[in-house]
Symmetry: C2
Subunit: 225 residues, 2 copies
Amino acid sequence: MSTAFQAFGSTGRRRFDLSVYLVTDTRLSGPRGVAAVAAAAVRGGVTLVQLRDPDATTRSLIEAARQLQAVLAPLGIPLIVNDRVDVALAVGADGVHLGDRDMPAETARRLLGPELIIGVTVHDAAEARAVDAAIADYAGIGPVFATSTKAEARPAIGVDGFRTLREQVPLPVVGIGGIDAALAAAVVAAGADGVAVVSAICAAADPEAAARAIRGAVTNGRGTA
Amino acid sequence: MSTAFQAFGSTGRRRFDLSVYLVTDTRLSGPRGVAAVAAAAVRGGVTLVQLRDPDATTRSLIEAARQLQAVLAPLGIPLIVNDRVDVALAVGADGVHLGDRDMPAETARRLLGPELIIGVTVHDAAEARAVDAAIADYAGIGPVFATSTKAEARPAIGVDGFRTLREQVPLPVVGIGGIDAALAAAVVAAGADGVAVVSAICAAADPEAAARAIRGAVTNGRGTA
């Protein structure tokens, strides 16, 4: 079993476990609502939740973050906010995830202080080299497989591309992009500390069962890493 | 002349003058760029600039804010950021303007501290009553006239509607919505401390001349208030 079974953050940071990293999707969650889908997913083994809704107003993002916190905080599951440092600060979330169109990580670290978790996205070797492990706590590498949940997604890098980038990033990493229970083990075997999942959980009829299957696949992938 | 000739903020807040309040529009500014339009407008008499671009990414908003600061800070003209407390904090702007879909003002005050300027939008009597003068520093009331620069704008309230709401808001106020040099004096005569302008400056062939005409109209309006 990999020593990365639980990938905790640096000293002073809040602890986190990347094993099954749920990225919320408001549309795919449908009338169930994001908080209910996340609650079910956590019962199935999700270890961290990122609130992502690039179309939402600031006020509705704050409301969605508070609803997620009510579900997650009692269970000790960290809440990460995509892009929006203001929303993370407003609700007291555990961190932010920053892509290349978001606030630079060094600016976010200054605003968030030393304890909050900062994740960054890596698409290619240049971005892998640019990761500052003194500032960021983890990286999402992808898209590993083709995905339809993100507008303007880049070409899939595949498992081999993931492995190459993973070796260049001196942080815990999740693979992201089109990962489901059938594909998760291969990503973990290629060096991921966990997998980030959107549609395989948010679009599932049974998000708890979907999360449980992915959690099992992550464990299996560690056995073969 | 009205005592509101210069409407400064509360003790402890950064000072501001609402006389001619430019709200930037990236599309209307065109290839000249927002910073160049703002620079010209300030030469013409703009007293405060709000960066507004609801379609921009966080990173490009930060870049736009920095470009505006480079123009405005040497001249002592405050920079206000629409909606985004994160962007305001990242660049050290002078404040934020918050609409009803943005962060609640009390949350923003907690994140921004006592010195930064917070403006709020008032569309109707209920919103006028909800203004907390201990938290907000000024209000934008409107739309006074019909406007095409804001998606999903509400019906125009007219000068009489403006006057009614203005009397209910215990803060300095600007009128906003379709105001140009021909209409500015009437809004000021109805109790505005200044006028907020988008297209009358951003779409003008000569933003400096446009701002100068509006500044003159504001002065004239005070003479008849």
